[in-house]
Point group: C2
Chain length 230, copies 2
């Protein structure tokens, strides 16, 4: 997942990003430049640069002269992330459905779908999540707007963190997801934009509803950004 190469700062960035998304660094937790630096046997500088990048992607918040904190999970941000994903994927799916669509172009999508089914059979949660991401990424690729996928994905960190707090070992909603993906593929094959839109709508809407309940989980107490105290 990480670039592998690059300077020390980038390796620190990858490390911290992973630790945050997998909630090994918990939301609200205080980080110390010096502490991280000495733990890794390097100086503060590359650590600081990594933290600046993380700050820029809203994964941490640097408070001057006070400390750097892992951002809390924000229900508002999650809701917005769903909104963004929904509308971008609808647009991408419509575009993909309307395109000339060489018959083989959907082959990759079907292949990913098969791998998803396989992951569900093997009950491999990690692979399932990965293949699921690949599936949606492929839709943007088909629409010729891969960059937009990056945008939608960036808005989705909170969802992944909430998921990882649950540490679900069984795959949730596996069969439904597979069924919904199959419907999306069918709509693309039929070159039916309206059907594709409906399929995406159902899929993302379901996701938002299901995961919305996740935020009421007791385990998230203190890890969630409260609505404005005004």
């Amino acid at each position: 997942m990480d670039s592998g190469t690059g300077g020390v700062a980038f390796r620190v960035l990858d490390l911290l990003r992973d630790l945050i998304v997998t909630v090994q660094l918990r939301p609200g937790q205080r980080l110390s430049e010096l502490e991280i630096a000495s733990a890794l046997g390097i100086s503060k500088t590359p650590v600081r640069e990594a933290l600046i990048r993380l700050d820029e992607m809203d994964l941490v918040r640097i408070v001057p002269q006070s400390g750097t904190y892992v951002t809390l999970i924000s229900v508002q941000r999650y809701t917005t992330a769903c909104f963004i994903r929904l509308h971008l994927e609808v647009g991408a799916a419509r575009m993909a459905a309307a395109s000339a669509a060489p018959p083989h172009s959907l082959e990759k999508l079907r292949q990913i779908h098969d791998q998803l089914i396989d992951a569900e059979t093997r009950d491999d949660h990690s692979a399932f999540v990965s293949r699921d991401e690949d599936f949606h990424r492929e839709i943007f690729l088909l629409a010729g707007h891969l960059d937009a996928w990056v945008t939608g994905r960036r808005a989705q960190f909170d969802l992944n963190r909430a998921r990882n707090i649950r540490r679900e070992h069984r795959i949730p909603r596996g069969p439904e997801v597979i069924r919904q993906h199959a419907e999306i593929i069918a709509a693309l094959e039929a070159h039916d934009p309206d059907r594709a839109e409906a399929a995406i709508h159902a899929h993302i809407g379901d996701l938002e509803r299901q995961v919305g309940r996740l935020f009421t989980d007791n385990r998230l107490n203190g890890l969630i950004e409260l609505p404005k105290p005004n």
Copy 2:
């Protein structure tokens, strides 16, 4: 537009961002940490931190041990930015149209619209662009997804840079924009999501088409990222 407060690094960030968006620093231009630092009478550190943030928002590209360059204007990125704006604004407008919509909530939107008309009358290009941004921002606000606006806006730097290279002193498409905005307001007032979607579609589609021609401007030679040389 800038925060006003904050440390030196943030003031450098605001300065450089403005210089880049207004193309006083031209696409492809090489920047030097040391040069900027001494010009501002500060050390390289805050300059570097600002550049890291700019790198994270794709306004510059830091090449290790080589140099930092203002990114070229990318037609691909611009097209994707239009795609993102189109679909997010359609979603937001539909949501705003469908909402309960207290009668006074649209008042702000009408007010901005009036200011836009005023700017067009006075032929104040800068104010026109500003009010235009406010207008679209307000739509996201009405939909309750202001964060999504930030996402859409971030993807739009290239458009603004291309605009500023033209340095148009007359307001382009002023009357059409005003007419299209009026139609959007009318659709929202009528609580008609389909009509709102159509209005946004027309507006953004028009924008993409008009500005698309802008990229063929001779003045942009060398400032645009060429399609993959493969």
